[in-house]
């Protein structure tokens, strides 16, 4: 997992899954839920991850923050450090 529940952040938990399943709770879900899920999906696919169960608790994070938190959670979950390896 990565991230916090602070305002402007998003907390991401990743577990093994079959296909990509995103469970999103967001303080801005009505206006931005669709975009947040799209950014999470894009980021994981960019890391080659197609099967995962993602729990996301969003407190109004911007896209750059979402990408960083999803990447960090994926790195921690897979042990594969995309920044070093």
């Amino acid at each position: 997992m990565a991230g916090t529940l602070e305002s402007g952040d998003i907390m991401i938990r990743i577990a093994p899954g079959d296909g990509l399943k995103i469970d999103l709770q967001s303080s801005v879900s009505a206006q931005f839920g669709r975009q947040i899920k799209a950014v999470i999906t894009e980021t994981l696919e960019g890391l080659g991850i197609k099967d995962a169960s993602v729990e996301a608790i969003d407190k109004g994070a911007l896209d750059c923050t979402i990408r960083a938190r999803v990447t960090a959670a994926a790195v921690r979950a897979t042990g594969k450090d995309v920044w070093k390896d």
Partner: protein, 476 residues
């Protein structure tokens, strides 16, 4: 002294002649610490009243118990300046059949004075009262349990309501002077355990910010004030309740000291910050419609140059003599501003009511210079939006809003080119408000539409008594 005014709450209600369908009123000087609304409405429910219209100067989180009274049909109408917390959430989701009527503080004062808002029975909490009804928000004995300072929002109710009941938690010997509410206006006096928790007055909207962005915004806003052309000896000023707008005072103070400039008065909700400047001799007089913290309440209790003002004398649009007409500079916050400088301070980005109009439209319209201080983004929520159609609710029309200060630059209403020139000449970064909206949009993307339903849950009245906007129910 032979006295027939001092009675129990139940007897006071019985004597008032209150009937189903009538309008009852309350003030909100105890803000989050108020105990009068819940106590009285509980009693009215117990006595079997139905279909009452509740006219409060404002309501907050603490009034969540009204939800059950609304469900039970005890309360079927509400008018207020604001709503917060669970009550606001329930109303936004369609709790009430009749829409809530929102008015500014000046608008409420005018509506009471001109009869648009007729009050049958006013229930007014006071920190001290004598048995004839002379009442004050200031404590007057060692037994005092509360202090709220100014009773400005209660004064129109006391003057115009058909029947006035004063509730107090400190009954003092006659005469309770100086008084805010006069014995001649009061029919009954009720002694209760507590009218409010004074420690909770400075809760809700009011916070003292340590957030670095708020401090940056406050410093920018102070520069706007100082270079606006209105910052000269004898100027007058008001600040709203947002963290940044409160912090501006601190930076203006430094400049007042440096330049030997003094203010003639500060107006509106008075805070400890303003009291400090007053006591230092930097502000000659304080005109206080609402004491925003304990320091302000204590100051009004002891200082003759710190004066209470009624909502009518403060901000009525109908009276040229109201104080806002003499106001030079007001610093306000906003939830949202659109590119035409229209402002929303009432309904949150999720479509749920979560704030209060307060004196926002009153002071913006009548002051010589109104400055809105808000960040460009709060998390992912934009505070500068493209068009009036994307503004969730219109509260303050843009023609009264002169300057918008954000961390990405300062936008000046095109109707005030002389202000833009002065600020630019002082080296401040002046931007087109369309560019601010575009900048916000480039960071956050395009928001989806909020899931509003087709029921009207709130009506926003402008300060002249006309319908300005409607608030729709929100669906989950």
């Amino acid at each position: 002294m032979r006295n027939t005014k001092l009675v129990s709450l139940e007897e006071a209600i019985r004597r008032s002649g209150l009937k189903d369908g009538m309008t009852i009123s309350f003030h909100h000087h105890f803000r989050g610490g108020d105990k009068v609304v819940n106590m009285v409405v509980d009693k009215l429910a117990e006595m079997g009243f139905k279909d009452l219209k509740l006219a409060a100067s404002s309501l907050s989180d603490v009034h969540a118990p009204l939800i059950d009274h609304i469900k039970a049909g005890v309360i079927t109408g509400i008018s207020t300046s604001g709503l917060r917390g669970e009550l606001a959430n329930a109303i936004s989701h369609g709790l009430m059949k009749e829409p809530v009527v929102f008015r500014s503080h000046g608008g409420r004062g005018s509506a009471i004075a001109n009869g648009d808002l007729h009050i049958d029975v006013a229930f007014l909490g006071a920190s001290s009262a004598d048995e004839l009804g002379n009442a004050s928000g200031c404590p007057r004995s060692e037994n005092a349990k509360s202090i709220c300072g100014s009773l400005g929002y209660a004064l129109p109710d006391a003057e115009y309501a058909d029947h006035v009941i004063v509730l107090t938690d400190d009954l003092v010997a006659y005469p309770n002077v100086p008084k805010s509410i006069s014995a001649s206006q009061v029919e009954s006096v009720v002694v209760v355990d507590s009218v409010g928790d004074s420690a909770k007055i400075s809760s809700g909207a009011i916070r003292d910010s340590k957030n670095p962005r708020d401090i940056l915004l406050a410093k920018q806003a102070a520069k706007v004030v100082i270079n606006s052309g209105y910052f000269k000896d004898g100027f007058s000023i008001q600040t709203g309740t947002g963290g940044a707008s409160l912090a501006v005072v601190k930076y203006i103070r430094e400049s007042m000291l440096e330049n030997g400039i003094k203010a003639s008065f500060a107006l509106g909700g008075i805070t400890a910050h303003m009291v400090k400047l007053h006591e230092e001799g930097l502000i000659d007089k304080l005109i206080d419609v609402q004491s925003f913290d304990k320091v302000a309440a204590e100051s009004i209790a002891k200082d003759q140059t710190h004066q209470e003002v009624s909502a009518v004398d403060y901000a009525s649009a109908d009276h040229l003599g109201s104080a806002v007409h003499a106001l030079d500079i007001v610093i306000l916050s906003a939830l949202e501003v659109d590119v035409d400088f229209n402002v929303n301070v009432l309904v949150g980005s999720d479509g749920v009511i979560r704030g209060a109009i307060g004196g926002h439209p009153d002071t913006a319209e009548d002051s010589a210079l109104s400055i809105i201080v808000c960040p460009l983004l709060r998390g992912r929520i934009p505070c500068v939006v493209p068009r009036v159609t994307t503004l969730i609710t219109l509260i303050t029309p843009g023609k009264g809003v002169d300057v918008v200060v954000t961390e990405y630059g300062i936008a000046v209403n095109p109707g005030r080119p002389e202000i833009a020139e002065r600020l630019a000449a002082a080296g401040l970064k002046i931007v087109d408000i369309h560019d601010l909206a575009a900048k916000a949009s480039s960071i956050i993307g395009k928001p989806d539409a909020l899931p509003f339903g087709d029921r009207v849950v709130g009506i926003v009245m402008d300060r002249h008594g006309k319908v300005l906007d409607e608030i729709h129910n929100i669906e989950d």
